[in-house]
Symmetry: C2
Subunit: 334 residues, 2 copies
């Protein structure tokens, strides 16, 4: 608990003249040049290079630079569960979501057989890595981070991808360029989730394959931690979608207010929320705020009959993992 006097916002303080400096600190130039040289050499020598783009590309607002790198390199590109929307899924070089042993078999095979991985903005948490089953070989990975760059076993301190990546693009060796059309020739068609026929039980494969048909371009798709999120890993997004999930902390209940925020932030997009009933009940009152703010996201509520993921982790038959069933749709008429 932090107590803050309610009138603190009215307190006048003295601030040094001048504007706040929002510029990003420059990378140390000698270190950066050394890193750049190593990276260019590694790219020239690679036979099966790939790009693996993760959450911090989004956090650093570098989708444009990533698109440029994908274009200039022609390398096959993979995303992580926390960055599904980081590249355009319509690109011929887009190959799917890599999350260790949770990946589609073919995606796993492709990533593991690469001889060079340009890993951008990686955030290796439990769920984002398929429970720490990445299994990638350091001797093949170049890591671009927010505050550091690593080329195989070498660390280049304070070399941020924000300054370095544009330089890599600028100096990209033309010899390395792969024709995107040739990727499918060599790797075969992109891995996709099994085409499951409708049945009595709605399985994740069926649900997500079906759902994506309904997402228009420019949708915002929010998926709650748990069943919704785990199922969404291999979703195929239409053009220019924003995909919001919260794997880093695993806080259930996050998505209902997040959906409100997203829908208010850009009313020109269609917003979808996919959430289980357990998480939904934690922050349900934000539906009221949605009505109050006049936004109308589409909510897909998965009836898990309680805290399903919790049941799977611990206490399958415990009462504390059960919740009261509601007549959800009718509740919001009142």
């Amino acid at each position: 608990y932090i107590g803050i006097p309610s009138d603190i916002v009215n307190t006048e303080i003295t601030v040094d003249a001048g504007k706040l400096d929002y510029s990003i600190p420059r990378n140390p130039q000698d270190t950066q040049e050394a890193a750049l040289k190593d990276i260019i050499r590694a790219i020239q020598q690679a036979k099966n290079p790939i790009i693996l783009a993760d959450a911090c590309v989004l956090r650093n607002n570098m989708k444009k630079e990533l698109a440029e790198l994908v274009k200039v390199s022609g390398f096959p590109v993979y995303v992580a569960p926390m960055s599904i929307d980081v590249v355009d899924h319509d690109l011929p070089s887009y190959r799917g979501c890599y999350s260790g042993s949770s990946s589609l078999d073919q995606v796993k095979k492709e990533v593991l057989s690469a001889d060079l991985i340009l890993e951008l903005g990686s955030e290796q948490t439990d769920v984002n890595t398929g429970g720490f089953t990445y299994g990638l070989d350091t001797s093949k990975i170049i890591e671009f981070h927010t505050f550091v760059t690593k080329v195989f076993y070498s660390t280049y301190e304070k070399v941020s991808m924000q300054e370095l990546l544009p330089l890599v693009i600028k100096h990209f060796p033309s010899s390395a360029n792969i024709d995107p059309a040739s990727i499918e020739r060599s790797l075969g068609p992109r891995a996709r989730r099994a085409d499951t026929p409708p049945g009595e039980v709605i399985v994740q494969d069926y649900f997500w394959n079906k759902m994506t048909e309904y997402f228009p371009e420019r949708s915002i798709i929010v998926t709650e931690t748990g069943t919704a999120n785990l199922g969404a890993f291999n979703v195929d997004l239409p053009k220019d979608c924003i995909f919001i999930s919260q794997l880093l902390w695993g806080s259930i209940g996050y998505t209902v207010p997040a959906t409100l925020g997203a829908a208010v932030a850009d009313r020109s997009r269609r917003t979808f929320l996919v959430v289980g009933d357990g998480s939904f009940q934690l922050t349900v009152q934000e539906i009221s705020s949605m009505l109050h703010h006049g936004v109308c996201p589409i909510i897909l509520l998965i009836n898990n009959d309680g805290y399903l993921i919790e049941k799977l982790i611990h206490g399958r038959d415990r009462k504390y993992n059960d919740i009261q069933m509601w007549e959800y749709a009718e509740s919001f008429n009142t």
Copy 2:
């Protein structure tokens, strides 16, 4: 955020043999004897002594000792907003709630004219003291605390009321005993909230005078921080009631889950919740848990049309203090 591995509860650790020692540390004996001597002498010399009992009497589970002190002394007894239920309101020596300038005029007059105040378990926060308007004279106050005792300007370190208060009762000077019946003769009838006739607007005086008629003995009454709580200061409780409020941190939304907890903890009592609509919406889903656990408290929902207290503090016409109106009763049918 604190991350805790979900399997930590299954980890075996080595603990020294023997049971946990729950006993309270003994007071330093010489210091305690000196304090006791000073206290007894002060009581013998007092002409208009009173008792002011506050929250830490409840926290230290000392209602019984307080009742004993009230009985053996016969002194008029006052409570604070955080300890309304600490003494039986049917006692002839019970005189009401003292909270500085927020008190009923007569209560304030009585407390301020005392020449000795036995102040038990005082918790002097903003709301509990009428915004720090206690205005009591240190030269008249004996403070009994959880870890210290103060007699006027002297501090007796580590002398806890848990050990000291029974000694004060045991050695209470018989000369000091006041006949409870004589209190009303000297002070007049106990101060009560104005008897307000029903009108178009429901005012706090009318509401709380009326409500108390409906509380049976042994009720649990929970009042939310804000309008509900501020109005409840001068409530007259039937025998053996439990009064739950949360003035210390001022966290709105506290009472809905607190009501669930109280109702589950003692299903033999009738539980009442008085809460404003702003606070209610913050934690409304615990109503679902009430249904799930089969408890049925009576909820009095005050339609303030938004965050009323927040409006009064700051932003009277600001949109962020407005909320969406619900058809509350119907919501819970679904």
